[in-house]
């Protein structure tokens, strides 16, 4: 039994077993576990995610059903966070809103990851005019402030869940693309890439087999941080009523209640909780990202 605990302790970064072999992934995990703040943030995130995705099991109320007799009630034992202007339970909307906000941020992250990694690989690996073209393309994208362009696009396409994901993904891939390109540029001079090339392995296979696994850590960190960015973008756009529309709830569109002066001044429960949730989740993601960055960096050891 004590052997088991020793192993568990070692797995979570406390001490090392005698003569034990440790893989790189395992080593990174141990390093990550030694960062208490990052681990705590990860637990908070998992907890919030689980609660959000089990929403129907947790709250007895519906997030969309309107009951005007209950409108604008302050917090009470029945409605812990009060009700909004249509009498919907705020806690319920907060939980369902977390589901929407986090799913959207994840989807937007995946989209920008795909665009960024593909274009970054092409630019970095093939160089010459492909590189020049893709880099000028990112320059063009970076000339437009995100918010101006996002608002513009939201005016053209119908605002809504799916389109907002597309807009965020379409506008924010440039960062990941540049990171991937820079990593590949420094990586492709290595002998093992040259060896693979001289063996006649196709570029696609070289990128997949030999390059991507080696640049996984910066991509992982950038992807983590871009989830935080996605939550912020969703909140900002929905705050301006250009994103998720009611009756669907998201943290951003719940915050837009604060645009009415009455809610802002005297009904704190209608806008403070979603704002705090955004701060907590984004802060946690940033800490996890920072922890990952340190854990995956072989130069940092502690």
């Amino acid at each position: 039994m004590s052997k088991f605990w020793e192993r568990l302790r070692a797995f979570h970064g406390r001490g090392k077993l005698e003569g034990e072999y440790v893989s790189v992934a395992n080593l990174s995990w141990r390093k990550f576990c030694r960062n208490r703040l990052a681990v705590f943030s990860l637990i908070v995130l998992v907890l919030i995610a689980v609660i959000s995705f089990l929403a129907p099991l947790i709250t007895p109320y519906s997030y969309s059903e309107i009951d005007l007799t209950l409108a604008r009630q302050p917090p009470s034992p029945e409605h812990i966070l009060g009700t909004d202007e249509y009498g919907r339970d705020m806690l319920t909307r907060l939980i369902y809103g977390g589901r929407v906000s986090m799913t959207m941020a994840l989807a937007a992250m995946l989209l920008q990851l795909v665009i960024g990694v593909v274009l970054g690989c092409l630019a970095g690996y093939f160089g010459s005019w492909v590189d020049a073209f893709i880099m000028r393309l990112t320059d063009v994208f970076m000339c437009f402030p995100f918010y101006i362009m996002a608002v513009c696009l939201a005016a053209i396409v119908e605002p809504g869940l799916k389109n907002l994901v597309l807009i965020i993904g379409f506008l924010s891939w440039t960062g990941i693309c540049r990171i991937v390109r820079a990593e590949i540029l420094s990586l492709k001079e290595n002998d093992y890439i040259l060896a693979a090339r001289s063996l006649g392995i196709r570029p696609g296979a070289i990128i997949r087999r030999h390059i991507l696994p080696n640049i996984l850590s910066p991509i992982l960190v950038a992807a983590t941080l871009s989830i935080a960015g996605g939550i912020m973008s969703e909140a900002s756009m929905s705050f301006l009523n250009l994103g998720v529309r009611t009756p669907e709830s998201s943290w951003g569109n719940m915050l837009s209640a604060a645009q009415s002066m009455q809610a802002l001044v005297s009904e704190w429960w209608r806008w403070v909780p979603p704002g705090l949730m955004i701060v907590i989740v984004v802060l946690s993601i940033n800490y996890v990202g920072e922890g990952l960055r340190n854990a995956l960096d072989p130069r940092i050891s502690n």
Binding site: V140, P145, I148, A155, I156, L255, L264, I278, V279, L283
Partner: protein
């Protein structure tokens, strides 16, 4: 230097061409044309509408339309807003108001970031509490949506304490002149500038802190101490100068933020700048204004990028002499 600049300039021309195409595509996908409403009217001959569209060149092939549009832009003709003013006038007025917010915020945040960064780095080895506080502060700051922060401040300072005005550039329906007008505007500036300063400090602060920590471990700091300088003096005279190179780098990277950094803050504080103009134009479906804002902002950001490149070359001899090894 000249070779480097010529190369950058060429690249910027290519980017500008790309920007113009992007804006044009955006414009073409905006719904509606000036005469489509007439088609609903049974008294209007559809042939007349067609003739009008021909006159405006809206039936030309797409590349002809692009060239014509580009020609108009190059002559400074960006079209007219729904209310009849030239959009360029609207945008340049809004841009002035935006700069009124962003330039003080930019200078203040640079100052805070440099001072706090050095201070925090110096205490990182000794008094850890200060360093921890600064790190926590920067993390908190990047995690709080600008508008949420702004809303909280509006509630506290505007409504609960009734200390500061929370919207607009000047008090409505009162016509101050001279010094009192300036004071009135300044009072309206306090909250938005505070929010902007806070949101812009953290990125540079983190950069400054890590650059300074690197420098503290350099041999020349120890050498200076060996020759009798105090640690503190060695940092301020030798360390700071070396840190300034990285300051200029970040300073340059943040320059475009002068134009685009205040979009959200403006919308929340109803400050009559670019961000508010953009948002209102979206609400009114005033596409000419939206297109002008997008195009002008992209051009200004491109120009600030060029300025940053020049500053960078002036500061760092490796770039100036190497003929653009940065690319």
């Amino acid at each position: 230097m000249l070779r480097y600049l010529r190369k950058r300039l060429l690249i910027y021309l290519v980017i500008l061409f790309g920007v113009s195409i992007a804006v044009f595509v955006l414009m073409m996908s905006m719904p509606g044309d000036p005469y489509s409403w007439m088609l609903m009217d049974p008294n209007v001959d559809p042939a007349y509408v067609q003739r009008k569209l021909d006159e405006l060149g809206l039936n030309d092939p797409i590349h002809i339309q692009y060239i014509k549009w580009l020609g108009r832009i190059l002559h400074g003709d960006f079209g007219y807003a729904l209310e009849g003013q030239a959009t360029l006038d609207l945008v340049s007025q809004a841009l002035k108001n935006t700069l009124l917010l962003t330039i003080p915020a930019f200078l203040l945040s640079t100052l805070f970031a440099v001072l706090l960064g050095i201070w925090s780095a110096m205490s990182a080895s000794g008094n850890k509490i200060l360093d921890r506080l600064v790190t926590l502060g920067t993390f908190l700051e990047v995690s709080i949506p600008t508008f949420f922060l702004a809303l909280i401040l509006i509630k506290w300072f505007g409504y609960d304490l009734k200390l500061l005005p929370v919207s607009g550039l000047k008090t409505l329906r009162v016509h101050y002149t001279g010094l009192r007008y300036v004071l009135d505007v300044a009072k309206h500036m306090i909250l938005p500038v505070f929010v902007l300063t806070l949101t812009q400090t953290s990125g540079m602060l983190r950069y400054m802190r890590s650059a300074m920590i690197d420098i503290l471990n350099q041999d020349y700091i120890r050498t200076a101490q060996a020759k009798g300088m105090t640690w503190r003096r060695a940092i301020w005279t030798h360390g700071l100068r070396n840190a300034l190179i990285s300051v200029i780098t970040v300073f340059c990277m943040r320059l475009p933020g002068i134009i685009s950094g205040a979009l959200f803050t403006e919308t929340v504080f109803v400050w009559p700048g670019i961000g508010t103009l953009n948002y209102n134009s979206i609400l009114n479906r005033d596409y000419a204004v939206i297109i002008t804002i997008t195009m002008i902002l992209a051009m200004v950001i491109l120009a600030t990028n060029l300025l940053a490149d020049i500053l960078y070359a002036v500061a760092d001899p490796r770039i100036r002499l190497g003929g653009g090894a940065k690319e």
